[in-house]
Amino acid sequence: MSFYNGFLHLTNWLGNVIMPTMAGLLFAVAIVRYSKGYPWNYSMWAAVAALCVSGLLRAMETFSSQLAWNDPDLVWNALLNLINWVGNVFLPVYAGSQVVLAAATYVNVGHWMPGSAWLRHLTAAGLCLLASGVLRLAEFFVTNGTSGV
């Protein structure tokens, strides 16, 4: 029994077993909060992040391993890589989502989505019945989105 093995297996168990399982619960919490009109974004994004703990760690390792491990410029280079990724990968995707939201707002979807209780409850009912499907969809996106970094 070595401390290294214990620590490694603890992290693997938490990151690859417990957190993906908790993602289902976090999605359920997000749906329930949505149905009540509470802020639900944190739960939903936490669920997505819980599905990709290993991916997030690999991303951070990629940012911080573009130079030799003992190169003093590695700290600056890691920050540069992070900012490049945010600017060249994240922001273009975010721009796409903003265009979609702009179009939805233009056709007045923005008025009846948060304002109409009947539609929110109806959507929540659908999401409750599709909870497993939503989780599988998120897993699909995470599994197939490994080329982002």
Binding site: M1, S2, F3, Y4, G6, F7, L8, L10, T11, N12, L14, G15, M19, L26, Y42, S43, W45, A46, A49, A50, V53, S54, L56, L57, M60, E61, F63, S64, S65, L67, W69, N70, D71, P72, D73, L74, V75, A78
Partner: protein, 235 residues
Amino acid sequence: MAASQCLAPRGEVKEMTNPPMLEDISRLLLALAAPAALLCLLLAGIALRREGGTNFSLGGGFSRWMFWTVVFITLPQLLSWFPSFGVPATPPSGGIGIGWMASVAADLTNFVTNFVVNRLAPVLAAFFVLRAVLDVADGSSPLGSVIAAMFLLSIPSTASLLRGWNNSTPNATADVLAALWTYVVSQILPIAAGLAIIAAIWAFWQNRRWMHYIAAAGGFLMVAALWQLIRRMMV
């Protein structure tokens, strides 16, 4: 101890050997260095519960007991500095001659290995796991207790790891500490980065501060580069 010299009555130099009992006491104390190192590791594990988790108290109980563990493991190499100070402190060779002293050394080593390390430390680790559950009930993180339990369960392998870094030179104490730093930075902290990301996700979900966990994960992955950066700034 090395043979010392004294003046005989007629003026000629005469060799005087050290009393065998004193040499056996030296051998006994040196033989007890290994079990003392194991005891220090046990106390380090207990201190890790108080100071572990996201806290590391430099100069606190854990680092102090780890330092003494390294000192006991490299004691013969540390003693080899004394002749250069003019103090003849060469460790005596051979086994303990006096029967009861050899028996005391063997019994104490057996006690520490079989009772303290193989029996008592796993029981303490089990209590720390119990404590981890109580930590959760208390609303605090169970990580400190779990890591302390793992440390206690791995005392024999940690001791052999430290012994493996002993290069038997007079600088062995510093070299083992340097190897320990390298091991923690290159092996343990990259895994801790994964734990930091999990903590960040958990804090984000609870709408608490989470960016410092992400920064910590990045820092865990770049400690060696930070060290080089600080060194470069000093030039």
